[in-house]
Amino acid sequence: MSIRIGVDVGGTFTDVIVFDDVTGELKVAKSRSTPARPEAAVLDVVDQVIDPAGLASADFFLHATTAGLNALLQRSGGVVGLLTTDGFRDVLELRRGTRDDLYGLLWGAPEPLVRRRRRIGVPERVMVDGTVDRALDEDSVRRALEILRAESVDSIAVVYINSHANAAHELCTEAILRDAGFSGGISLSHLVTGIYGEYERTSTTVVDAFVRPVLSDYLQRLAEGLRARRFSGGCLVTRSGAGAMTFAEAEARPFETLMSGPVAGVAGAQQLCRELGYSRAITADVGGTSFDTSLVVGGEPRVKYEGKVVGLPLQTPWVDVRSIGAGGGSIARAEAGLLRVGPRSAGAMPGPACYGRGGSEPTVTDAAAVLGMLAFGELAGGLQLDFAASRQALAGLGERLGLDTDQAARGVLTIAGAAMAGAIRSITIEAGEDPREAVLVAYGGAGPLFGTLLARELDIGTIVVPVAAGNFSAWGLLCADMIQSAARTAILPLDDAGLDAANQLLGGLFRTIAERGDQGADRAELSPAPSLDLRYVGQEHTLTVHPSADGERIILSAPEVGTLFAAEHERTFGHRHDGAPVEIVSVRATARASLALKSAPAPPVIDGEYETRTIDAYSFTLGRRLSFSVIDRAAVGLRPWWDGPLIVLEETTTTYVDHGFRVSQGASGVLLIKPTDGTERLP
């Protein structure tokens, strides 16, 4: 037995997936989320799907949680005190002077997470080169603690200027707080991010301190519940920056879990790329309210190192998942002669008109229903979509624009598809990639509906629809590697001396990772990977390069690293500055332990006779309605391939294969869809 359990807690539902990677057996279940005590739904859904003996023998419990994110959204985190360098306590509130809405005359910043009276300056100052301009006034730290105690703070964030260059004062402050008996959480900025930029680092450290008590409580209660059920395997949480970390590390670095939701699907796509041998993939995850896309190159997702959550900047590794408001529930409307789609969504309630829950506005799903793309609209449990309601909603929209019902429905799909293609273009072009050289991995409830539309729009040669595509994010949890990282800003010239210094720093960062404790190292071997953020002297933005390394040490010479950087710069930005000096800005240490699955889930199969049905549906390739074959997913393997037009039905999603494409069963149980124009291209 080698069982993994993945649990993805969403806003509405908690999804579980259990996979035995010896037998290939896959089980899924769903339960309504319980936001007040999320662990209740998690444990409940686990009990539903796996028996006590199975749970006791399982190897891993892998989790994606929105506990931290919800604490931020609802402002329900801990009471935080902030210690800063004297003179800098208002950095958090002064921000950088930008508006989230550029022309928003009435825009206002969100309240800072720490009220001003709980932000206290401490006399101390480190210069940019690490030398001390003013020694730490230790008594001030003790006096500040008295004030913060009177304010009943749960945790304390410590952010001193230039602590990336010399962390002694932050470390000393922690020791003083502990000596004085403070037992709450302490977040030190150089450990949280280690990257310069005082506003962004303060914001990140404060967020860490804010979600710490909530996440820590939650993970402890969940772990207790699992132990009480005699589960003895490893407990892991996915990170915003890809991979998973142990519960223990998540409690120590809670901000790293904030955006773990959309990342799980990307991990699943990564695993597929490895299994199927694709070097470049674009993910297309279409849910109810949004379209999320990301890029996997050379088996790795694109990672950026800063982002924003509810208007608060975070310096943390971050899988670059772009989201636009175009999902199955997005509402279409007429506005001054143009047809507009989203970003407003009908959500789960009332949902699209065809759900029959009181929705009457036309959504993307209604448009697909009108065009026949959802075939007969049969749902599990004998439920039936209300296509008449969809037609009525679309007819009303069409009238306002002088379009008939079909034209309006086509328009909604075309505009939503074009917006998705635009998001894919921007994410690929920014990375210097060409979408035509990638496969498209389509998942989420509505992703496989859009596969051939997007492939046509972007001239993509292969679409992959994974097994259980509607639940693919939960599946992705099971595919995560264990990853830990640490980073530090250190501005050094890119010469051999600078590289030596960087290697020394890397050694220290890898030790930091090792000292974080619970590695799960008894289960898997950690392999180190150093990387460098580089730029031309004078530039601000950096590019991360991954030079060849022998373990923790970079073994390339400075000129070799420079060549690597120039090539990456040219690929990403279209030009290079040969002869311009290059500098190291930050060093990054990543340690990874592979938890690779030993097998893929077995695709469903049908024995014996199978009868296909047909339905009249719209073809975007031909621009008219024609007869589409309709088959069950389990039937795909009955033939070497099926030519479109075709609709493939399964429990969690519907795959629309337009005329001009053909579908076949691929390895790992996926559907492979390719154009039939004879110019089949291998990515």
């Binding site: 800098f88 002077g97 022309y103 200027i161 506005e335 143009l338 530039q539 601000e540 990403t572």
Partner: protein
């Protein structure tokens, strides 16, 4: 109206109206779906250009302060889309630059694929000579289909004083004038010209790097525009663009229609020489149905100092403020501007004639804020009180040990004015400068020999009211080695105005502290400073909104607790919050 010097441009600068239609039959070959798809594609192209520049520019002014914009125009020089996060100050400003480049290079007939046209001329691109505009044509099947262009701030263009001139008497003192020339002809660079441009800068390396970054961006823009036109065909593309413009115009007309008809007069305050009193500049906003006329003809005569505002920038700044009344404005195009007409008087500071100096035009811009004030009565629920400082700057510069010139510009904003329903929330720039970022102290210290001693709020610096402004803050820079500093502060004599009974904010102030000596500075060029000197800026607070007697007493006490106001001033300003002491 006096006759107006005609600046040829698609945006008709005789009346400063948006470009008219082309006379092509509307809508043929398009539909509401294709038009929406094309609208999104155009936005995406301009955004990609902006991303390319921000990621690759060498100058912090561009990548950190965002002093740049990218746009695409159709062959009739109508704005197709401008990058979503480009400065509102540059809303549609590049049309004039494209027109000037064409006029000076033989017109559209003389264009070939791979041509890159450059102008830095203030009267072409609207602002100081530091702003370089680069343009490239886009072709489809041999036909000109439009232009991709970009404008970026170059840190040094050989002006008489490093970084910025505060006392230039004409344009010739303000740097190298590049009057619309082909920097590249059919993909081949004119090396003689290129070297001449670099040779005229104290920071040639930055110019080379930033130009490279702009070239990369406008190439992406032109290629993407060519692909888009190729995909839909020229006819369908053009008729779709008409539908897109029609949509945007309808959105703007519906906004203007929501303002009752009338002539609204407002006053902006302009600070000129440090020794002079501020000048009040009156302007009028006339609303008739769905059209708006902004009348700037009462502006003072053009100045012998560099605070004049070239016409293209006057037009784009007013457009930016108008768009801010919509809030959440979508990415702009020519259609939004159709219902707006702007009247100026040639020879005035809002319509200077060359070679009047314009180097510090940003201070002139503050004089246009009467636009919001004019409408603040009729749109009481949509217009906040004034910001404490629009953009308050210091430039540090000097020579490195190796003898090379370096410069760093820091930008700061005053506190936000109170909103109609809440207190001001943080420091912000005025709308034309929205999107600019204040510097990070740590990033600045990593490349500039100064040490930031602190940046803390100034209690009692915001305007009082039912809702108070956001306070200003104090910034202190300790100098670590000999260098020069140029300070340029605004709103140093009259604080940010309050609205509907709200009080004024405290003014901006600057000083240099050397031991016991303290010198006050507001606009001072090239002040030599040395190790240990402290340059201190005290930023102003935003104005208040509504009468202070209506302020919630709990909010007054919270402000005391958090240190935004002192108890002493609270007792004076909000006596109703202290009933026991009455």
């Amino acid at each position: 109206m006096t006759a107006i010097e005609f600046v040829a441009c698609a945006t008709d600068y005789a009346s400063h109206r948006a470009a008219p239609g082309t006379g092509e039959p509307p809508c043929r070959g398009s539909d509401p779906v294709t038009a929406e798809v094309i609208r999104n594609a155009l936005i995406s192209i301009s955004d990609q250009m902006q991303i390319a520049i921000q990621r690759t520019a060498l100058s912090p002014v561009i990548y950190d302060l965002n002093d740049c914009c990218c746009a695409i125009y159709d062959r009739n020089l109508r704005l197709l889309a401008q990058a979503s996060d480009g400065l509102p100050c540059f809303a549609g400003v590049l049309g004039a630059a494209v027109q000037a480049c064409l006029d000076n290079c033989g017109g559209p007939e003389a264009l070939e694929p791979g041509d890159l046209l450059l102008t830095t001329h203030s009267y072409h691109q609207g602002s100081h000579l530091n702003d370089a505009a680069l343009v490239t044509p886009a072709f489809f099947e041999g036909q000109l289909v439009g232009y991709a262009c970009s404008k970026c701030h170059m840190l040094d263009v050989g002006q008489k004083d490093p970084v910025v001139s505060l006392d230039s008497v004409d344009l010739f003192q303000e740097g190298l004038i590049v009057p619309g020339v082909k920097l590249y002809r059919a993909g081949v660079r004119n090396d003689d010209l290129y070297r001449t441009i670099l040779a005229n800068s104290r920071l040639p390396g930055l110019i080379a790097g930033d130009l490279g970054s702009m070239i990369g961006a406008i190439k992406i823009g032109a290629q993407s525009l060519e692909r888009l036109v190729g995909r839909y065909g020229i006819e369908r593309f053009r008729s779709s663009v008409e539908l897109v413009f029609g949509h945007s115009e309808a959105v703007m007309r519906s906004l203007i229609s929501s303002i009752p008809d009338g002539r609204y007069v407002g006053t902006g305050v302009f600070e000129g020489r440090p020794a002079e009193e501020p000048t009040a500049i009156e302007l009028a906003v006339e609303v008739t149905g769905s059209t708006m006329v902004v009348d700037l003809t009462a502006a003072p005569d053009q100045l012998p100092f560099p605070e004049n505002l070239p016409v293209p920038n006057v037009v784009s700044a007013v457009r930016g403020w108008l768009l801010s009344l919509i809030g959440s404005a979508e990415t702009i195009n020519e259609g939004y501007f159709a219902p707006l007409e702007i009247r100026t008087r040639p020879g005035s500071m809002f319509h200077p004639l060359p070679p009047a100096p314009v180097s510090s035009y940003i201070f002139g811009l503050s004089g246009l804020e009467g636009f919001l004030r004019a409408l603040s009565g009729v749109l009481a629920d949509r217009i906040p009180a004034q910001l404490g400082g629009d953009t308050e700057d210091v430039a540090f510069f000097g020579l490195s040990d190796e003898g090379s010139f370096w410069a760093t510009v820091v930008v700061m904003f005053g506190g936000q004015g109170a909103l109609p329903d809440r207190d001001g929330t943080c420091p912000l720039p005025f709308i034309p400068w929205s999107g600019m970022r204040m510097n990070s102290c740590e990033i600045m210290e990593a490349r500039t020999p100064v040490l930031v001693e602190g940046c803390e709020l100034r209690p009692d610096s915001a305007g009082i009211g039912k809702f108070r402004g956001y306070p200003g803050f104090t910034m202190r820079y300790r100098v670590l080695r000999p260098m020069s500093a140029t300070m340029f502060l605004d709103r140093t004599k009259a604080g940010a105005y309050g609205l509907h009974g709200g009080g004024c904010g405290v003014v901006n102030a600057g000083r240099i502290i050397r031991g016991d000596q303290v010198q006050e500075h507001t606009k001072s060029m090239m002040v030599p400073v040395t190790q240990g000197d402290v340059i201190e800026l005290r930023l102003g607070g935003g104005g208040g909104y509504g009468h202070p007697a209506e302020r919630d007493p709990a909010a007054v006490h919270a402000d005391i607790r958090e240190g935004y106001v002192t108890e002493e001033s609270a007792r004076r300003d909000y006596p109703h919050a202290f009933p026991a002491s009455r």
